[in-house]
Symmetry: C2
Subunit: 233 residues, 2 copies
């Protein structure tokens, strides 16, 4: 039960997790080999198997370390908002901010490696390997349930099916934005340097997602803003 020895005791684990986070982001799970990974961490090749058991277990540990606190922070922010609202339903925009705020805050956190993780996380939602996807799904389950309920209360007129899809779309936008910013340049002239300004990015995302979530339903023709809705093909 020595106290001052706790930190160096787990330093090898931490070094491995940090290196894994960065290399998984850069090269993917299969592309980042144990030798490359342990070399970057400055530890012996066998250290991963000793401390984590296997590479797959290391992958799981990388997500555990960040995802649990991240979703806890999301839920805490939702709790805070609901407590302040005193029974009134929250605005959709406020719920969206509670969900994406924590992710985007980590982008600016360059020191603690949050940026690496957020980009890694964004990519992992579409990871082909099934165990990883189910792992992510399990870690998100309770959080998604809470936010779904919050959205449903904020938008009582939106059918449940539509809410599912729109949450799906919103999550996709966030995921892609986190993963692909400063990597893909599909649109010529796009300046990914702006990503550093995560405040501005957050405002842009909130505007886009809120509008999408509140979009008129396909059937009901309560007019949108200015678009001349004309059917094509």
């Amino acid at each position: 039960m020595n106290l001052r020895a706790i930190k160096p005791q787990h330093e090898t684990r931490r070094r491995i997790l940090d290196a894994a986070e960065e290399l998984f982001m850069q090269h993917g799970f299969e592309g980042a080999s144990m030798r490359l990974l342990t070399a970057k961490a400055g530890v012996n090749l066998a250290a991963v198997n000793y401390h984590f058991g296997s590479k797959d277990a290391l992958i799981e540990a990388v997500f555990q370390r960040r995802l649990d606190p991240m979703n806890a922070a999301r839920l805490a922010e939702l709790d805070r908002l609901e407590a302040a609202a005193a029974g009134e339903p929250l605005s959709p925009e406020a719920i969206i901010r509670a969900f994406i705020g924590e992710s985007l805050a980590m982008i600016e956190d360059g020191r603690n490696g949050g940026r690496n993780f957020v980009r890694l996380l964004g990519r992992t939602y579409t990871e082909p390997a099934k165990p990883i996807r189910t792992l992510i799904g399990r870690m998100y389950a309770s959080t998604m349930e809470r936010f779904k309920a919050a959205f449903a209360r904020a938008l009582p007129d939106l059918p449940s099916d539509e809410l599912f899809w729109r949450m799906h779309f919103m999550f996709g936008t966030l995921s892609y934005t986190l993963a692909a910013t400063d990597t893909v340049q599909l649109i010529a002239g796009f300046k990914p340097e702006d990503r550093h300004d995560s405040r501005a990015l957050q405002e842009r995302l909130v505007q886009f997602l809120t509008a999408g979530l509140l979009a008129p339903l396909p059937g009901s023709s309560r007019g949108s803003t200015t678009s001349s809705v004309r059917k094509a093909a």
Copy 2:
């Protein structure tokens, strides 16, 4: 120049491309080995290197086969719309339909393997391997340029920076929807069987994306639809 021998002449190539498309989608580029791939295609292990040169060249060929016609169809649809509009700027919704329609149409095309490719494509936008990303970017460059110009003409009041970001968001939503539908189930109760109805999915996507694209700007407070815009945190 024999005519009746053309088809069986390229059948090995086609079989390899089909198998690669499916296995790359299921297991990723690194996860789908040459032995698994050639076994599924029913060809010899050396056939890939003989016909394509290398595994990387095969990956490129998989995208070439589908992406070029796909983007050509998008541009053709855009041409058709602009010709019919006779100088008038198109509606944003019509442009969105022109862009996503071709992708979604391929989802229903189960026979020709279009579904496999579309899902593979959606995942590849966030692929860690750099050569693949630059390949995709190159194949999309001219198409994105055309659509960017069309959107700019349809939305003359939207600043260029904002248009970039909103196209980025829109592309992300489409990408994630194509890649993750029926694979990820982050939201409990979500029924991915609906993906088979690509008409309904297209309408949902068009509604969401159009609303996001036309969202009010962060600064200007020209009221949106019904949301009680309340700043949080």
